[in-house]
Point group: C2
Chain length 312, copies 2
């Protein structure tokens, strides 16, 4: 049993109650706790030394990243973060200065986004540092955008550029909170999520939840300059397009909207967020899976970003 099979088994029949609007399987859980105009968003995310950061990572960036990942999930629901608890598991001979700086980075980002740090705990993990963030947020009722609303004919959009995470963006990314709220307020978004595992893989979550397929236009994928540089400097690095399609930790927004709204959206976006690229990368189609299209033809895209000829 691998991790995905285990998760499928563990989430098969979870206890629920009348407060649960959305349980396991979307970017955040959504709860109705009786706030007049709002629903509650609830999310946890962990970073582990040796997996998500190393002892060589600047500690402020470790703390920043730990919280930013959770903030990105609130953004993926067009929500507003409210309060976080910080669990930090420490080896016995921890470097107090390193830990204090982790909190400095985390607290600075919390301050920037108006998030209260309301406690948490330190516990023991003898071999490595592990940080788990639990985050609460709110979203206006009816404005929580899930993964399951994509419709055939929708245009597929991504913010920013993809494939730059390994070059450092995974420590510096901006959670797209303001952008997602603006989208939710001004446009009838159909499906929304954040990119944590790469476009080729994450798009499938929307497709599966919505019962549709997608066609991505090769030339429309916004490739980060860092991914191009990396490929040029290191022949063993992924080709830039593959990096843009499959590298994790982009933490950009991925969403679909009726294609009739696409031009208006692009116009409005340019005025509102002139510095952040918004790209229409393809469209939702009937069927399932992801097809990559270029002038030569159509290719089935796998989650690693690699494509092979498709019969269509």
């Amino acid at each position: 049993m691998n991790e995905f099979e285990l998760i499928a088994r563990l989430t098969k029949s979870l206890p629920t109650n009348h407060t649960v609007m959305v349980g396991a399987g979307d970017d955040c859980a959504v709860l109705d706790l009786g706030v007049a105009e709002k629903l509650i968003l609830f999310k946890t995310d962990a970073v582990v030394e040796g997996v998500h950061f190393t002892r060589e990572t600047p500690p402020e960036k470790v703390g920043r990243k730990a919280l930013a990942r959770c903030l990105s999930d609130i953004a993926a629901m067009a929500g507003t973060p409210t309060a976080a608890l910080v669990t930090i598991a420490l080896p016995e001979n921890f470097d107090a200065e390193f830990i204090a700086k982790i909190y400095d980075g985390l607290n600075a980002l919390a301050q920037e986004f108006g998030v209260a740090i309301v406690g948490g705990e330190t516990t023991t993990n003898p071999e490595r540092i592990l940080i788990s963030i639990a985050l609460l947020g709110t979203v206006s009722r009816g404005k929580q955008f899930l993964r399951n609303g994509a419709k055939v004919g929708d245009a597929i959009f991504v913010t920013g550029e993809l494939g730059g995470s390994l070059a450092g963006k995974h420590l510096d990314f901006e959670p797209r909170l303001a952008e997602a709220r603006w989208l939710a307020e001004h446009f009838p978004i159909h499906a929304l999520m954040d990119l944590s595992d790469g476009l080729a893989g994450d798009l499938r979550h929307i497709l599966r939840a919505s019962g549709v397929g997608a066609e991505i236009l090769k030339t429309a994928v916004p490739i980060a300059r860092a991914a191009k540089l990396r490929a040029r400097e290191n022949s063993a690095a992924k080709p830039p397009l593959i990096a843009a399609l499959s590298d994790g930790e982009d933490f950009e927004l991925l969403f679909t909207i009726a294609s009739s709204d696409a031009v208006k959206l692009l116009d409005g976006w340019k005025k509102q967020f002139p510095k952040l690229k918004l790209s229409c990368v393809g469209k939702i189609v009937a069927g399932d899976g992801v097809v990559l299209r270029d002038r030569m033809g159509a290719y089935q895209l796998n989650t690693n970003g690699y494509a092979h000829f498709a019969d269509n």
Copy 2:
């Protein structure tokens, strides 16, 4: 810098916002998210293999314990738990059956207390299993009982018996949720918390938060039969009174109430919870620290449960 000094440093100036009623330092954070008659309780707690359980612990009990610890914190606020997220960090060669049974135990307890499991994540921790629970709850406005309300003259009460955790209770304890809510509904409790680190240590949290001291009557401490048995069978084990005062993981309620309410409380309790002992173990006094009193005199009590003669 030890763990306590680190925590003091880390929690010195945390980012906050207008939703925060109680931040770091009490059993749960308390948030006002605009629910008409309720406040939101927010808590995380982690258990770590080799620290809180071993590979030999029945996995169902590991899962049960992970959630029960958090539930006890909601009880310590006289709250009602609503929804939990489960983070589980796994070594690469995890035993899927063991993990599935951890969830079985956790889900069964969640079901028992009406708690929805609304997601979470699996992540990697190469050397050992770590489970972190994030729990949301609610409490009626004005009925959230903190640690800072103890007054000179108050009677000090504990539920159940103390010192039995090592003999197995740490895997089987019942979170005192119904008991705490009944107390909150019927009596003007002054200070309330749950016992996780032992009476001698935890009482100090109430004393410090309230600016008072306490006197504990030696013969009034309800010692668990398991602690007595353990001491009888193993000469290296703690004397039973010391175990009752200092062993962690009792997860009973500790609270103070005006002594004029004590008799009425004991009468009401006996009718409501005939199977669960409620003991008045002492009183709140002016000053600070904890004094243990017996027929021979008064002793200063340290957090390990050991006492030495006091000048008074």
